[in-house]
Symmetry: C2
Subunit: 238 residues, 2 copies
């Protein structure tokens, strides 16, 4: 039985635990009100995420660009997007603060109650490409009850690099089969599964907003498919 | 003012946060009762700590022995001490379990309330030579409310190696001057101080037991001398 074999749960964070898009839009709109700006914040948030993070990480993964902290990747794209979206009148301190919106992402409604339940039985950790300090700040901001923080920054590469999953299990002093990887994204889970980690898919239909056509991913290749973290806890008998 | 400059507090753990000696004695005495053993547990605990950990780490630090996880160092000495103290009748599973007493050390009475207060204002982390999993397990066992776990295992060397203190500050995305090192031991604090970290000495007169003659260390070279973590919180204005 999976729940008896598993000792720790490691979680993808951006999209799986927290609503990056909604959080960036919310802070962006507050900035618009304070500064009298007119910005398409949903578009801004998605450009920032996809160009500034996902595409940068892909380039780093194939060796076209050297490893850098995610804060640095975010800032580089933010400087571009400020120009592209015609934003004026921000001080350097305000830009630094806004770049750190990624340290202040808000959880999905089921995240904190589900994690709190899961923690009573399992060790729970992040396993994210976010920087160590980013993940630590976010946990404090959003009261995410992690037992420890595991970040790709500790290993100098990015998911889905196999070293991330195997090094995480090793630091937890567990066999891969004892570490359940939880994510909303099949690529992350497939990488973990190929290394012997059990996997739980928790689809997040709202990751790219409510207006977006969304098809539930096929979860048949994973050990668990759960509708949020409370359902995940229930399926693991917690 | 120090409390305004500091963003994170990092703590030595063995002796500073938890009572390793009392905890090992307590589990040892329970083992004696279950197995009908007659063992000098205070002596056993001190031999285990000093020979199995402190002396092994000194040999690793000077290059006489290669780096190993603390669990492994503890187990090697435990096998010796079992023979030296004439302990018989333990299964391998019982030895494995007893070796992990270091994952189950109990906090000093002021540790959890003090950390809980400090956490409301600062990021708080371990900065210990204990293994990552050991520190994570201990936090769960003793309800230590860390924001994150930092272990020398992440850096492949042991305190007081300068890399430990500087890498910890880097992972927290802070300057050394923003990270307060808290310890009961002057050697640890001196290493941190020489690298630009502010320091707080929290003497633990009972680390080696109540019967031992103990002289309070001279704390004049450190930024703070506190009588426990609640006093530390008070001195930092929390």
């Amino acid at each position: 039985m999976l729940a008896d074999q598993v000792k720790a749960l490691v979680f993808d964070v951006f999209g799986t635990v927290v609503d990056w898009r909604g959080s960036v839009i919310q802070e962006g709109e507050a900035l618009s009100r304070r500064k009298g700006l007119d910005v398409d914040w949903p578009r801004f948030a998605e450009d920032w995420r996809i160009e500034g993070y996902s595409q940068a990480i892909s380039r780093i993964r194939v060796g076209e660009q050297s490893w850098e902290r995610v804060d640095v990747l975010h800032r580089r794209k933010l400087d571009e997007l400020i120009i592209r979206h015609g934003i004026v009148g921000l001080s350097e301190a305000e830009i630094v603060h806004f770049n750190r919106v990624w340290h202040r992402l808000n959880p999905w409604p089921d995240s904190v109650p589900g994690l709190t339940r899961l923690r009573t039985r399992f060790t729970i950790s992040t396993l994210s490409n976010g920087d160590f300090a980013l993940l630590t700040d976010m946990a404090k901001h959003s009261k995410l009850p992690w037992d420890c923080i595991l970040s790709s920054e500790l290993f100098g590469c990015f998911k889905p690099d196999p070293r991330i999953y195997l090094s995480a299990a090793k630091l937890l002093d567990l066999a891969p089969a004892e570490v359940l990887m939880v994510a909303a994204h099949v690529g992350d889970l497939r990488a973990a599964r190929s290394l012997g980690l059990p996997t739980a898919l928790v689809p997040r239909p709202l990751e790219f907003g409510a207006g977006r056509p969304w098809e539930p991913p096929d979860g048949s290749e994973f050990d668990i498919v759960a509708d949020g973290f409370e359902d995940l806890a229930r399926q693991l008998g917690v």
